[in-house]
């Protein structure tokens, strides 16, 4: 196995083009579990921790840019937490402090799990994923980026640079159901945003996190519509019917929070 540690974005993209088999690693909170349990033995790892261009966040023409290396702990800090409150609330539910200090938004996109907690808040805020390779850059709306459970549209020479999100300072919230308040994979999760229209996005209730939209006049029927948009399964964490039920209740509560 080789470990490649680029010191700049340009170098990172060049290495990824030369070694498309290299698995990117940022916080390692998904990749290391695979390595430690011998479930993956990639020919190379591309350590992105030293690429300064992937870190941090900034404001850009009314939108917010989140570098792929932004950690959950950073997303919980003001003033970013005030600009994107649902993302901050979601970040606070991820793992425990040790996981939030390392785990990144880019890693959550890379893993593209149906339960990825950053994804519903990003969906309701109209996130666009910026991807790059030596061939150039492209922007993919988040709903088109995740194409199946743990599958995304990245080509083998591409890296995630970050995401651009709107909806800052709008009324938004995040909720997650699990057996305890820390260290849980969501049984279901939900982000809701009210800002000109109603938007909800759920996790762990279908093959991919999914966005549902309706007009402001549809407040009463919205919880039912969100529950109907889900295609949950029975698994060790919960049953399909419980997940649908929980989504309906959570949507109602989230709307109450956002409409006060």
């Amino acid at each position: 196995m080789d470990v490649l540690t680029p010191r700049s974005l340009e170098q990172a993209l060049r290495l990824k083009a030369e070694r498309p088999d290299a698995v990117p690693i940022q916080g390692g909170t998904d990749v290391m579990v695979e390595l430690n349990f011998d479930r993956a033995r990639p020919a190379a790892l591309l350590n992105l921790n030293e690429v300064a261009e992937l870190r941090g966040w900034s404001r850009q023409n009314g939108r917010v840019w989140l570098g792929s290396g932004l950690t959950y702990a950073e997303a919980m800090e003001r003033p970013l937490a005030e600009a994107l409150p649902a993302l901050a609330e979601a970040a606070r539910t991820v793992g425990g402090p040790q996981i939030r200090n390392r785990g990144t938004i880019g890693g959550n996109l890379g893993t593209a799990s149906p339960a990825g907690d950053a994804l519903p808040p990003l969906l309701v805020c109209g996130a666009e994923v910026k991807i790059a390779s030596v061939r150039g850059e492209r922007i993919v709306p988040l709903p088109d980026f995740v194409v199946g459970p743990k599958r995304n549209v990245l080509a083998e020479d591409e890296l995630i640079l970050g995401v651009s999100v709107g909806g800052t300072e709008s009324r938004q919230t995040f909720m997650k159901v699990g057996p305890r308040n820390a260290m849980v994979i969501a049984v279901v999760s939900l982000a809701v945003r009210v800002d000109g229209d109603l938007r909800a996005a759920f996790g762990s209730a279908g093959p991919v996190p999914t966005l549902v939209r309706a007009g402001l006049g549809d407040v009463d029927s919205f919880p039912q519509r969100v529950a109907e948009a889900a295609s949950p399964i029975d698994d060790v964490r919960g049953t399909a019917s419980y997940r649908r039920h929980a989504l309906r209740i959570l949507t109602r509560r989230a709307l109450d929070r956002c409409l006060v």
Partner: protein, 152 residues
């Protein structure tokens, strides 16, 4: 591959396998078995260390990612042969039974108290939510954290 890093204030070098964790490197290459290996998947916190001052699970950091960075392990908390206040409080409060979770909890508590000198019970609960203990039921651990906070 060879990596250079700082551990507990000392520059050091280790020959590591490319795919191994920082936890393995600390325990098996650098002779620092204080950080414990229980789950290797970030669930238990017994491998907690500080990486550039941030609390992390050493089992989820690739050893090669620590190159050029500063690590503090539980072995680095005592000063001049005297236990850290958090360690003293864990002993005094009877917060240690089998002791397997203790190094991780001590590092996580030291990290909490470095940021928050007057933690509420909720602050403590949240700060230690990534650390599991199978023996104590946590009550004595909470006593130890409150005792350490009072002594700082």
């Amino acid at each position: 591959m060879r990596i250079e890093l700082s551990v507990n204030g000392e520059p050091c070098e280790a020959d590591v396998w490319e795919g191994e964790s920082l936890l393995y490197a600390l325990r098996e290459r650098l002779g620092l078995p204080g950080s414990k290996n229980a789950c290797e998947q970030g669930e238990c916190g017994s491998c907690s260390v500080l990486l550039d001052g941030k609390l992390v699970c050493a089992c989820l950091v690739l050893a090669a990612q620590a190159e050029g960075h500063e690590i503090v392990t539980v072995e680095g908390l005592a000063e001049d042969g005297r236990l850290h206040k958090v360690q003293e409080a864990f002993v005094a409060a009877g917060a240690v039974q089998c002791g397997f979770c203790t190094p991780g909890l001590v590092v996580a508590t030291a990290d909490l108290l470095a940021r928050n000198v007057y933690p509420s019970d909720d602050d403590i609960r949240e700060a230690l939510s990534g650390n599991l203990c199978r023996c104590t039921g946590y009550a004595k651990i909470f006593d130890a954290v409150r005792m350490a906070a009072a002594s700082l």
